[in-house]
Symmetry: C2
Subunit: 289 residues, 2 copies
Amino acid sequence: MKMHLDCPECFVRQAIRTGQLLRCPNSVLWDLVKGCGTILSQIEHEFSPPQNAVALYDMISLKVGKEDPFYQLKKESTQQALALYPRLKEKIKNSADPLDTALRLAACGNVVDYGVSSDFDLMKEVEEVFNADFFHYEYEEFAEKLHQVDWILYIGDNCGESVFDRMLIEELGIPVKYAVRGGPIINDVTKEDAVDAGIDQVAEIVSTGCRAPGIVFDWCSDEFKALYDSAPMIISKGQGNFETLSDEKREIFFIFKIKCKVVASFLDSPLNSMFFGRTKTVALDPNGS
Amino acid sequence: MKMHLDCPECFVRQAIRTGQLLRCPNSVLWDLVKGCGTILSQIEHEFSPPQNAVALYDMISLKVGKEDPFYQLKKESTQQALALYPRLKEKIKNSADPLDTALRLAACGNVVDYGVSSDFDLMKEVEEVFNADFFHYEYEEFAEKLHQVDWILYIGDNCGESVFDRMLIEELGIPVKYAVRGGPIINDVTKEDAVDAGIDQVAEIVSTGCRAPGIVFDWCSDEFKALYDSAPMIISKGQGNFETLSDEKREIFFIFKIKCKVVASFLDSPLNSMFFGRTKTVALDPNGS
């Protein structure tokens, strides 16, 4: 999907919130506003939001003086999620349908706030999200497809969430190639982060070859594009990957929380609802993008 | 009050909404986004929002190719409000306290949406707003002051609203100087608009000497500043005037609807509530600006 007219103001909010998250002084926050202005003055509205977000987060890195501003937060998210790993594995093992449980948990991983204070709070949040209804849930189609293929390309999203991805991968029962960003951007999972989450123990980690917080084919490596084309089945996590893959003709199983009005309208689904399925099976709003 | 970190995203929204209001094609809307980017890249965060808004609306005029993009809308708002004039005058005349009724109606004038389809709908909206509670209403203090002075400086705000201002002026019983913007900006009242509303029949129309949608003393004429300094009593209509006069030491009676979170927080009052009174009498949030 292309940029929507609601996206520019969200870019401004993201720049300021990132600065606030990093406890930047007011002068730097206004510097981020100005930097965001320069980004907007050159915005490519034919690009997808994650494609434009690369310039935005490059600017943020420059203004806050950190190449990977989310480095520490990413490490902490992964550690927080890993602390829950034994309990969540138990939950999957004891469930009537471990694959279904692992899928729902993988969606939870995209939602929970790793900034909460304790394991107890995080586990409570996971349980709450786990019990939430999915607006869209294509489990049967997914399970059927899974039996027909011999490997899966699994496109990762954020840190912390990747621990939940690992648990799903452990239930898939076939080889998985886990795609990570080619370099640090926001809290997205890189190779180092995926190894932190233990993904290397259950899948082959591959890079998209670019830093975009989504799959921007123009910027991906030839190696990744070949992998994508040859993959018999694809799982895509998170909204950033969805925003860049929503117009793809091939079948992709998306798992994510609908976090903004633009995507909610595009999918004709409620804001904040959970989505698991292929876009082809939902009515798309042609004016949504 | 100075710019708040919530203001930049509102600037982006205002630029796009103005373009949409003027039925601009998508290409122009994205041009407005880019233009707004340039404005944000040079934003003066020590300025008040209305002071920065001048550059924003200059950019909008340039991009949409109209020196006064709201010209037609302003004319229509004034005509719509004038159509209600006889009924509202009757309402004031038949009320137990005509001054109180005229004050409440003047506040209504700042709120109603002149884009509604008929006089009937507009009158219905006026009645609804009229019956709404004010969060702050300093009627007694206002009436007392009114008896002590021999003229009033009344700072106008928007078109349409100015017809309601005229009805309040007709109840004040003393000479009024009605301040208008020095040139067209947004839907703010200019001399031509004030004459359209019949203000010239009840008050002396004076210009602030600048186009800002508020009172920016650095840019006002010496004549207006002298008038402001000598005024024994001031009524200020609308949020734009409030945003630029909120830090003034002198007594000003503000009448407006609190239309954004930033001002609501500054005044420690609910969003969308009606305000009539002096700032000195409300607890101000020192971190609100």
